[in-house]
Amino acid sequence: MTDAPVLTLRGIGKDYGRTVAVDAVDLELRRGEFVSFLGPSGSGKTTTLMMIAGLQTPSRGEMLLQGRDLGPVPPYRRNIGVVFQNYALFPHLSVAANVAFPLQMRRVGRTEMARRVGETLALVGLPDHGARLPAQLSGGQQQRVALARALVYQPPLLLMDEPLGALDKKLREQLQLEISRLHRELGITVLYVTHDQEEALVMSDRIAVFNDGRIEQIGRPQELYEHPASRFVAGFVGESSFIVGRVTSAAANRVAIETAHGMLCGHPATSLAPGDAAVLAVRPERVGISEEAAGGDRNVVHARLVEVIYLGQSRKFMAALPNGEIITGLLPIALAADDLAPGQTVDLTWRASECTILPDH
């Protein structure tokens, strides 16, 4: 029973007229897990979240919360916590009254209510702000109140829709750590929507990458980063450079593709067969500039530097291949020669085992 998923989505979808907002989403959320929905704007993250909250009716599919079918349950009986991007605090109620609101709806007694409101406000770092109105708080403080209001009734599932989207970078990083801390301390299950891949990588146990109303890939951050299953994921989670080609030989963990720049090898993301259109994806930090000839395990391409950017700890460079494809590289400052300059021709190199070959549609 304890291993039963908190939330199960089976083929959930939503159409608005002829536009498909969410195509078909499958997901199982384990107890205590922090899962992020990561994807570009318009990929269906919010709609999926709102269907779980009960604020949108699915056009198809099935949702279970702790094994119970959510279909016939109205939003006010789902007992799910929701934190909205624009906070949605009640402007005419004090901070304490905002946090007390869900407890009033559950007919919690007066003393118990006061205790829990006080505790929860302390938990989010606002113990002395109960008497203020939301408008008297900063954006970050308002978001903490929204969080307190969604946590105070201890819902089995907390949904957050880009909760930090309206805050500046520094505050955002601080609140990311605080939300992670709350998640650990309270052991709550969280579904977190973001379009910021760094935020998703920092906070999540698993990330579901959304594209066009579907989950393109779901997995642990490291898994997604190191083994993206599609060109979209490789480009959206972290940075990748791409070289297109065609598979010439395919083994279980080694695929060779013929490209405009010669034969290149890499680790296959999925099973590929000779003749398939494929694309090689390589992370900037894996690309080096080589002087000596390539070894057996290394890919080498000849390119011309078009840009070199000094980043303090490292140097980032962009190099153009003869057919216009761009390879981005990132060299630690100790390894980057001072005289790297646009216009130079260089040999770029990376290990075959450190790049991925993906199917190209």
Partner: protein, 269 residues
């Protein structure tokens, strides 16, 4: 520098003249209402309360004033309730036929009053209602609803549409969410709608003329019929009272506006 000052003085003078032009008729009416003379002479020869006493002792004035107050109260309550419900129902929805419905509700603002009056008369006459309080209340309510829809609609537009969904996720049923969240936030709009409806009903003449009988008539109709009889300063006394009621309602309106900040109370049109 000098030219600037000249222009400023010119502006003050023009404003002053316009203000006098606007206020003078009301001022003359109020002054004459305290006249000791039986004639409408200006300036009055002396001060007296006789015309106000005359109002109280003349049954026609007393009764019509009571009718007006009753109709005003019922109209304000009814129009506010119906108009608020309509505004809430129409808010945030943009389908074509709801837009049509909204236009229909606002129609009394643009339909010439005499046309509305004739139509309402024909309808209510067929029901046999002419000369009743409920006929006056029904007609005034139709005319007042657009004002309420406008003020409440404006208040709804300034409230975050995400608040009710948030309340639902927190466990509030739709009706609780309306009472605890929507209603307090649109209260200034509702109150100003209520006041506009009251002023409209109290001042209304044209439709009331069609629906009044010698036994049941509003104070405006009573004034109107008096103008053709032996005209005396009693009519200025009743006019001053109407002015007083309107000014009290307007004063209440501006108090709401001040307490809630200028943004949340919006004058219709």
């Amino acid at each position: 520098m000098n030219a600037g000052r000249l222009w400023r003085w010119l502006a003050y003078t023009v404003c002053g003249l316009v203000a006098i032009y606007l206020i003078a008729p009301m001022l003359i009416v109020v002054i004459i209402s305290f006249s000791s003379s039986a004639l409408l002479t200006f300036p009055p020869p002396g001060f007296s309360w006789r015309w106000y006493q005359n109002l109280v002792t003349t049954p026609a004035w007393r009764e019509s004033f009571t009718v007006s107050l009753e109709v005003m109260t019922l109209t304000a309550l009814l129009a506010t309730t119906l108009g608020t419900m309509a505004a809430v129902g129409l808010a945030g929805r943009r389908t074509r036929w709801l837009a049509g419905l909204r236009t229909l509700l606002m129609a009394p603002l643009v339909v010439p009053q005499i046309v509305s009056a004739a139509g309402i008369f024909l309808l209510l006459d067929a029901c046999g209602w002419v000369g009743t309080i409920r006929a006056l209340v029904t007609a005034h309510t139709v005319l007042a609803i657009p004002y309420v829809v406008a003020t409440v609609g404006a208040a709804l537009e300034t409230t975050d549409p995400g608040l009710v969904p948030a309340a639902l996720t927190l466990g509030a049923t739709p009706s609780v969410a309306f009472r605890r969240i929507t209603l307090p936030l649109i209260r200034p709009g509702i109150l100003s709608g209520l006041l506009f409806a009251a002023v409209l009903s109290f001042d209304e003449l044209i439709v009331s003329l069609f629906l009044s009988t010698p036994r049941t008539r509003t104070v405006t109709v009573q004034m109107w019929s008096n103008v053709f009889g032996d005209i005396d300063p009693a009519i200025t006394a009743i006019a001053s009272l109407i002015l007083l009621v309107s000014m009290l309602l307007l004063g209440a309106y501006s108090l709401i506006g001040r307490r809630r900040g200028a943004g949340s109370v919006v004058m219709p049109l």
